[in-house]
């Protein structure tokens, strides 16, 4: 229990750091975030790709995003130990099927990144099924943003 609290604490600090690094400057302009940070990764490459309903194949947009992720990871990836790919589904499926679907989506991204030369040893996957939607809504607009795989730098 104590260990997990420490881990949570550490995660919180990391999240805080990530939040700070991506916060625009006081001028309010689109202040560029520090190169090599998770915020920079999100800004320059985009940390997520989206999928069609009940699909786990990459869309052209998804492939373009992953190509940018590859370029970024080749430049800055040494700073991170793990590239955790989180697979998610929308709520229009059963809990168990969606866990499997999220895993399949995460693995699609993992396979693509590895095929482009990203170290497979650093690529890990986790599925959240429909448990962690990005957008809480019950229409296609929400579902389409929840059918995603997010690359998280750790």
């Amino acid at each position: 229990m104590k260990l997990s609290i420490k881990v949570l604490g550490a995660v919180a600090v990391l999240l805080l750091a990530a939040a700070c690094s991506s916060t625009p400057g006081p001028e309010g302009a689109t202040a560029s975030v520090a190169p090599g940070t998770p915020g920079h990764f999100q800004q320059v490459a985009g940390d997520r790709v989206f999928f069609e309903t009940d699909q786990s194949t990459l869309t052209p947009d998804g492939r373009a995003t992953l190509d940018k992720q590859v370029a970024w990871l080749k430049q800055y990836g040494d700073r991170y130990q793990t590239f955790m790919i989180e697979g998610h589904a929308d709520e229009r499926g059963t809990r168990e099927y969606n866990l499997a679907l999220g895993e399949r989506r995460a693995n699609t991204v993992r396979t693509y990144l590895a095929s482009q030369g990203i170290s497979a040893a650093k690529l890990k996957t986790i599925s959240y099924g429909k448990e962690r939607p990005e957008v809480v809504g019950s229409d296609e607009g929400a579902w389409s943003r929840n059918r995603r795989a997010v690359t998280v730098l750790q």
């Binding site: 709520e91 809990r95 693995n107």
Partner: protein
């Protein structure tokens, strides 16, 4: 009291002495006079008069629990006590049947609760067939006062069985996932309660997601999926000691667990390189055998009650459908052929039906079909109905219903109960939002 654990309950109930009370008429003579079945249930439930048990004050509470149980089944309509004409003072004597016929009672329940010198309580009841003027059954139980609710459920089961010919389902518990918090950061913790919502307590602290609990046939254990150590894995949880144990040591996600009917194995999905296949694990030796080997998603396995077959979900045909294979594995045969997508097959403990979740158009439904796929019957439908679990008598189901999210807020998630005719649909009250119910077997007496 809240910590009353099953181990102690079971011990206590071993000491329960059930005596069949001698009836004025042999029940064999009256058998069949008052009969109703779940399948044949009409819109007219049996009017039943349930009098307050005389003696100890818990007698009135026992009557209330019995009445609520029987009412919930949809097969009985307890008559308002205000209408009663005869006041029962000695439940050992024959009632004045004309008084009960006058208020249109078809059945009458009388009883008593008496404190014993040794601290136990003696609870006795009799069920009368009012039209025939004959006793249908009668029993007496000795137990600790603290167990009075269980005695009430056991009596309700006895009445249900005597009138319907089916085993009851009132002396059971439900494990489910208690939900709270915002929709994008939902807190999900396991909770357990009696079938009627009493004796509620939480089993996990909510620090990590807990999903899809399922009861062991031995009742003390639940198998479920948790993110407890960060990674999604299947765990065993002892509901009495709350000791939790990782089931197996796998490099990837394990999920969708379910016990075999004898409790010796857990069948579940294991993901590898993004693909989910079905495996069975021997709980004692932890040896594992692979049952499916297919590039499609294979998940949600459920054993037939004889342990010989397994129903599961697969999208190998292009969309999610239900397949049945031998318990040793194999390709299996598709059994769902209606419109839409079918998933989460759950084999009835009686073996005659497989319950499922069906997606068609914009809605999710709970339905049942025969194990060969015939006789599909939809029991409930909404924006999202999911996750059926069977009562031990195979005549009632629980599932969860999620309302659409609105305005960035998560829609309400509630447990529901329905019978296999689909006519008796009703919410199951829980303290918080609730999903993933798992109905226990009958608690051993």
């Amino acid at each position: 009291m809240m910590r009353t654990n099953t181990g102690r309950l079971v011990l206590a109930l071993c000491a329960v002495l059930a005596t069949v009370l001698v009836a004025p008429l042999s029940w064999a003579q009256t058998r069949g006079l008052l009969q109703v079945t779940v399948e044949g249930a009409s819109a007219n439930p049996i009017p039943i008069a349930i009098t307050d048990f005389v003696g100890d004050p818990i007698g009135g509470q026992i009557s209330q629990v019995i009445a609520a149980d029987l009412e919930r089944s949809g097969l009985f309509r307890p008559i308002d006590k205000g209408a009663f004409i005869e006041r029962i003072t000695d439940p050992g004597r024959s009632p004045r049947f004309q008084d009960w016929r006058a208020i249109n009672a078809d059945a009458l329940v009388v009883g008593s609760a008496t404190q014993q010198a040794d601290g136990r309580v003696r609870v006795e009841f009799r069920l009368w067939d009012v039209a025939a003027g004959a006793q249908m059954t009668g029993r007496a139980y000795f137990t600790q006062s603290a167990n009075w609710r269980r005695i009430a459920h056991i009596i309700a089961d006895e009445i249900f069985k005597r009138v319907t010919g089916e085993d009851g389902f009132f002396d059971t518990r439900v494990v489910y996932v208690a939900e709270s918090g915002p929709g994008n950061a939902r807190v999900k913790r396991l909770a357990i309660m009696d079938q009627d919502g009493a004796n509620h307590r939480f089993l996990t602290d909510g620090r990590s997601l807990a999903l899809t609990p399922r009861f062991s046939p031995t009742l003390q254990e639940v198998v479920y999926m948790s993110y407890a150590q960060g990674a999604p894995r299947v765990y065993l949880l002892n509901v009495d000691t709350q000791r939790q144990e990782l089931l197996g040591n796998f490099p990837n996600m394990t999920f969708a667990p379910r016990f075999s009917p004898d409790g010796n194995r857990v069948v579940m999905s294991l993901a590898s390189d993004g693909n989910s296949d079905i495996y069975a694990m021997d709980v004692r030796s932890r040896s594992i055998s692979r049952l499916t080997n297919h590039p499609a998603i294979d998940t949600s396995p459920s054993y037939s009650p004889d342990g010989g077959r397994i129903a599961f979900t697969s999208d190998r045909g292009g969309s999610q459908q239900i397949y049945v294979m031998g318990a040793g594995g194999g390709d299996g045969q598709r059994i769902s052929f209606g419109n839409g997508r079918y998933s989460t097959p759950v084999w009835s403990p009686r073996g005659d039906y497989i319950a499922f979740t069906k997606q068609e158009g914009g809605s999710f439904s709970i339905g049942i079909m025969r194990p060969d796929g015939s006789g599909e019957r939809i029991l409930a439908s909404s924006y999202l109905d999911e996750g059926p679990t069977w009562a031990p008598n195979g005549r009632y189901l629980m599932f969860f219903r999620q309302a659409p999210n609105a305005g960035g807020r998560a829609g309400a998630v509630r447990l529901y109960m329905v019978d296999i005719t689909g006519r008796n649909l009703r919410p199951v009250p829980t303290p918080t939002d609730a999903s993933d119910p798992a109905w226990s077997p009958l608690i051993p007496q």
